[in-house]
Symmetry: C2
Subunit: 216 residues, 2 copies
């Protein structure tokens, strides 16, 4: 196999450590048992033309494998999962169901959850945020209760642990500064179970170890 | 082929017509030349336990094909695109690139764009919205300018028209109540070009024709 390189940030503030999206890709690679190198970048790289050719929106991660360059952690996790039946079933119908949950994590759950985190982490002192926050929290609670309903008698979203659980847990973790997940027993147990996986612990440790103490 | 059924709303307000996400699935099916039936539902169906078993978040569309039930329009479009090389190249690397842009449309562009539409369509009179809107508009403009940069010398996101352009155009269309896309010539031309496709016109006409005049 051609060597794989995953681009990540050299430094992020504490509140972002353990949330930056290269973690999702590292986790998938650990589950699949695929080795990779990391390339650490800073703000200057992120804004450069050369980087924008690889990542049009200046985000991380970028995934490079021979001639293939990929961006968007959801697409990269899907690409990796296709080589690992533990992450994505080979059966076409089962695979389609897992992908439905992958999109649900990123397009139905993550937008309101990210909105709440943005208010709390970036706009806590602004007048609009106090008025808006309860509405956003209600939107988040609705999605969490619907997810808990589905997980009521299930250990995972679809059968065994898959790439959908990897993404869903990563999205739920954006709420770690609140008790919204902890207050829903089905979700709390689900999150803890997925995060207890050795592949997650290794991926998290590797992301945290990559950060410098100072910006630069 | 087993018959395909797509679930859509029996009625939505004017501002949502042409935006409800079954349109993305109808468009993909028209591009692929795959016939389907529609099943129209109302608010009561949406909240029912039977419907939640098929769509855990009570949204539309649901896609049914024999024993397979799918939700999340992104996942459904991907499922359809895999049967249609015009929508998704068979070459593995080219396919992975198109999927990266599909996720970019839904996870990088759509969240800020949806936030702006939500402010304008649901919260225009609220005090917080006046203070927050400029920040959200800036976030949208940043993503639009990055997308325009990529499209600068390209007709489509990757080579020919694909499922990524279908989703990206659908996301840009959420801004139709503003001039944000029209003000960027590269994006305006891109949107017009994709929306001129007969498959889009047919899908749009079919969605609009399905709506009743009154809620119920």
């Amino acid at each position: 196999m051609t060597g794989i390189t995953v681009t990540a940030f050299r430094w992020v503030p504490d509140f972002a450590r353990g949330l930056v999206r290269d973690l999702r890709v590292r986790w998938a690679l650990e589950e699949a048992g695929i080795p990779y190198r990391q390339r650490l970048i800073g703000l200057d790289d992120q804004a450069s033309e050369a980087y924008r050719r690889r990542q049009p929106f200046g985000q991380v991660p970028v995934y490079e494998e021979g001639m293939l360059t990929l961006f968007e952690s959801g697409a990269i996790v899907l690409h990796i999962a296709e080589r690992c039946e533990a992450l994505l079933p080979a059966d076409a119908a089962a695979c389609a169901r897992v992908r439905a949950w992958m999109f649900a994590a990123l397009n139905t759950l993550e937008p309101p959850i990210q909105n709440l985190a943005e208010i709390d982490l970036f706009h806590a002192g602004e007048a609009w945020a106090a008025e808006r926050r309860p509405q956003v929290e209600e939107a988040v609670k609705l999605r969490l209760s619907q997810l808990a309903c589905w997980l009521h008698d299930r250990e995972y979203l679809e059968g065994h642990f898959t790439a959908a659980d990897l993404l869903m847990t990563s999205v739920l973790n954006i709420l770690r500064h609140t008790d919204l997940v902890a207050r829903v027993p089905a979700l709390d147990a689900y999150r803890r179970n997925c995060e207890a996986r050795p592949a997650y612990r290794k991926a998290l440790a590797d992301q945290l170890a990559s950060f410098a103490d100072q910006p630069g």
